[in-house]
């Protein structure tokens, strides 16, 4: 069975949720510890949401220098699929695995909402189960989710199709170009602010037109990873 590692930092909050999502996608979740130098041979890695080490500096800044992150960086360079969710996305930008950075929401408050996204690139390791242009609803919850990058970087991201997800209808945090998630050139590393692990189980996801809390659009990210690993 495909094994997907989920890293727990002291302030990780959605690590159990990410493990559950991996399980629902049909893979075996493996708990990884921030202080270890060991990825236990997993096939893919998820950096979950939370506040890593308290995030009193920039979010994810200290976590990006943790022992496990050195292993994650070298695995990513070998092409291992790595997904950063929310705080995990912040770590990936701090570790320079992904371009740009994340700053305080433009309105200044924490925001939790069911967010409509458009899939802009369906060829990454974490999005191949979707179709380009597909609209999905994923819960978003963050205080520092405003995506920023230099003008040149933005131009490159747009030009090379590295924008993976874009906010639709409402830009909830002031992200430039409505960017919700990006990938690296190789497509194995993806980061996004919304939380796909909260839209994987009927009854506990976002509301849909059909029924309350029945949204499972997030599952596609996790099944994508399995697809891409099987395809290798």
């Amino acid at each position: 069975m495909t094994r997907v590692g989920v890293v727990t930092f002291p302030g990780s909050l959605d690590d159990r949720d990410a493990q559950r999502a991996v399980r629902f996608a049909g893979a075996e979740p493996v708990a990884l510890w921030h202080g270890d130098h060991d990825l236990q041979g997993v096939d893919a890695v998820v950096l979950p949401g939370g506040f890593s080490y308290g995030d009193y500096l920039r979010c994810g800044a200290i976590a990006s220098h943790s022992p496990i992150m050195r292993e994650v960086v070298s695995a990513a360079e070998r092409g291992v699929p790595v997904l950063g969710i929310c705080n995990g996305f912040q770590m990936l930008t701090e570790a320079h695995l992904l371009p740009g950075g994340l700053i305080r929401n433009d309105h200044g408050s924490f925001i939790c909402r069911d967010q409509l996204l458009r899939v802009e690139n369906a060829s990454t390791a974490w999005t191949n189960a979707f179709a380009v242009g597909q609209e999905i609803t994923i819960p978003l919850k963050n205080g520092e989710g405003g995506y920023i990058a230099s003008a040149e970087t933005l131009e490159r991201l747009e030009g090379e199709g590295l924008v993976t997800f874009r906010y639709v209808g409402v830009n909830p945090n002031g992200s430039l170009n409505d960017i919700a998630g990006v990938s690296n050139e190789r497509g194995n590393v993806v980061g996004l602010m919304p939380h796909p692990e909260h839209a994987i189980e009927p009854g506990f996801g976002p509301d849909t037109a059909l029924a309350m809390r029945s949204g499972v659009d997030g599952l596609g990210l996790f099944t994508s990873a399995l697809q891409s690993l099987l395809a290798v």
């Binding site: 002291p10 302030g11 990780s12 909050l13 959605d14 159990r16 949720d17 559950r20 939370g50 506040f51 080490y53 308290g54 995030d55 009193y56 309105h107 408050s109 924490f110 925001i111 939790c112 909402r113 819960p139 919850k141 205080g143 209808g169 409402v170 909830p172 945090n173 939380h195 692990e197 909260h198 189980e201 009854g203 506990f204 509301d207 029924a211 309350m212 809390r213």
Partner: protein, 764 residues
Amino acid sequence: MSNADTVENAIATPEREQPYEALGLKADEYAKIREILGRRPTSGELAMYSVMWSEHCSYKSSKIYLRQFGQKVSPAMKKNLMVGMGENAGVVDVGEGWAVTFKVESHNHPSYIEPFQGAATGVGGIVRDIISMGARPVAVMDQLRFGKIDDPDTARVVHGVTSGISFYGNCLGLPNIGGETYFDPVYQGNPLVNALSVGVLRHEDLHLANARGVGNKVVLFGARTGGDGIGGASILASDTFSAGGPTKRPAVQVGDPFAEKVLIECCLELFAGDLVEGIQDLGAAGISCATSELASNGDGGMFIELEKVLLRDPSLTAEEILMSESQERMMAVVQPSKLEGFLAVTSKWDVETSVLGEVTDTGRLVINWHGEEIVNVEPRTVAVDGPVYERPVAYPSWLDALQADSASRLLRATTGDELRAEFLRVVASPNMASKEWITNQYDRYVLGNTALSFPDDGGMIRVDEESGLGFALASDANGRYCQLDPYRGAQLALAEAFRNVAVTGATPVAVSDCLNFGSPENPEVMWQFSRAVEGLADGCLELEIPVTGGNVSFYNQTGSQPIHPTPVVAVLGVIDDVARRIPSGWQDEGSNLYLLGTTRSELDGSAWAGVIHDHLGGLPPLVSLPGEAALAELLRAGAVEGLIDAAHDLSDGGLAQTVAESVLRFGIGARIWLDEIVSRDGVSASDALFSESTGRVLVSVPREDDVKFRGLCDGRGIPALRIGVTDAQSDSLEVQGLFTVPIAELSGAHRSTLPEHFGAVVGG
């Protein structure tokens, strides 16, 4: 080495003047301490007694009334109660080997002085109570009351409190699943910030706060001790604010949610490894409370070397260390053979730990400071046998006149246009309006088990992923009702919370309360308190659900004006499988809408009277608790058989508010008619819309289940009247023959009130 006031010194200098009044003690209380000790207290002992004998910690004014919760119990109420009042939080058996612990507590005064930190540490404190029981915290809720929405100071408090709860709760990774927000000028100088936390545990993981086993180590772990929150319990929580007085800001604690999050995981790993004998969180009164309570509940003796406390500020005196309310600290009793394992876990989580001393059999709590004895007391005299007051009680001089001023004299609207205008004013009023400006700042998803959360009537959390076992929680209090009649007002709060749990499909099983009142030194306030407690205790006995714990907050007033009595009642319910939960809003086309219960002309204390006529007077609605129980049983049966696709209780704002919320939940319109309510119950159309009669629920029933559902109601003798049908195509709410409101207009009215005062809601 030190210049501390030692026991030896206290004996040698009996006449030394001591600042007991500045520490919040009365002259007779100070005399009592001297009598207990047979000498003057040392300054360290005086510090301990002053905080532990404060109103906040000792319940000295409320104790004689709170006893009723232990006395008015039936065998059925004890059946599932694993831990009752007196521990950090009550624990209820919910079946399948699982237990749930929950408690609601106040952090009112700190939240006025410093709204952000006050509210944040309120969440932190109640969560530590839950951990202390051996449970994993799984959700939080808050009960908030602010001043007038357009008062210039209200926005300061609202922004601070909301962001404080958001900051702390979100960083802990606990979903916020519900609560209440009210605005009323009576809370202008004294907002109420109550926080509820709930946790789950396996039966065998239950832990208690006691220090047993002579030779066992007493260990302090978590954040370092600093100079924050000194005298929080005695100076702040047990006195009223006075104009021109000192700011008291240093008495507010400062919170670090990351430290608390780590502490949660660390404690759970300690419990899992069976490394802890007894545990107590450090909240009000800090080390004074933890040492004296642990010792009182155990073998009776403890020896502590206070200089071993790890400090954030090395200049703190022994007295300050004893009184500090620095957050994110816990005290554990650990067997010597398990100490190494204990330290391995705390070090894994980078939690600083120091061994302060050990359990003894001397019957004394002895605290040394650099080798000199500064405390030597019998712990029960500090923690348990504090003063008990029978405060004077007086029937309020103004109450008869207030009760005589009924809303029945107020003008009723009759035309469709008038009713439409009043309908929109009520649903847009600050207390009835959407609270999403606040709730959107809280994480409701984390942990992945949230089955219901705001704006549904109750929150619901799955406990067991395999079986689907879960619990529901709702809390309510209506200060306006309680001002009119505190006995009935407390029962109305109980009835509403009970009904809010029942409409989710869960079975109500237990109660926690947070009793917010004015000064106990005011005999009229004491009368309100005594009546509210009596009402709540009688009500719980009648419903046969136990009060498992709670909190009393006195001195909530500005100057001489007390708040309305605000007994927040939280009810816990159990549901076998959360997949059978019932939402509050309509989801489907063509479902029949049934109003369960009877409508009387009950507008005294109502939202309508307040919003349309700025009126408060008369007697609040009648309560029938057996009726509530029968209604709850019907809803449970309906949920089990899958006959109900939505249920929403009727309370503040009456049918008008319920219909508006049910439409807006999923944006499904409806056509309703009032004629049959008017003719069957003999009320006007206005009363049918706005009356707040209890024991009523509006349910939506799929057409194919209509006959079965009617049969269910008939069989139980519950009056059920079909008053409408959902209509997804209409995009409007039509009250037949009277008025129609497009959903867009209704949504605009209901959702724009808070943003107008506090800023836009993201995605508006």
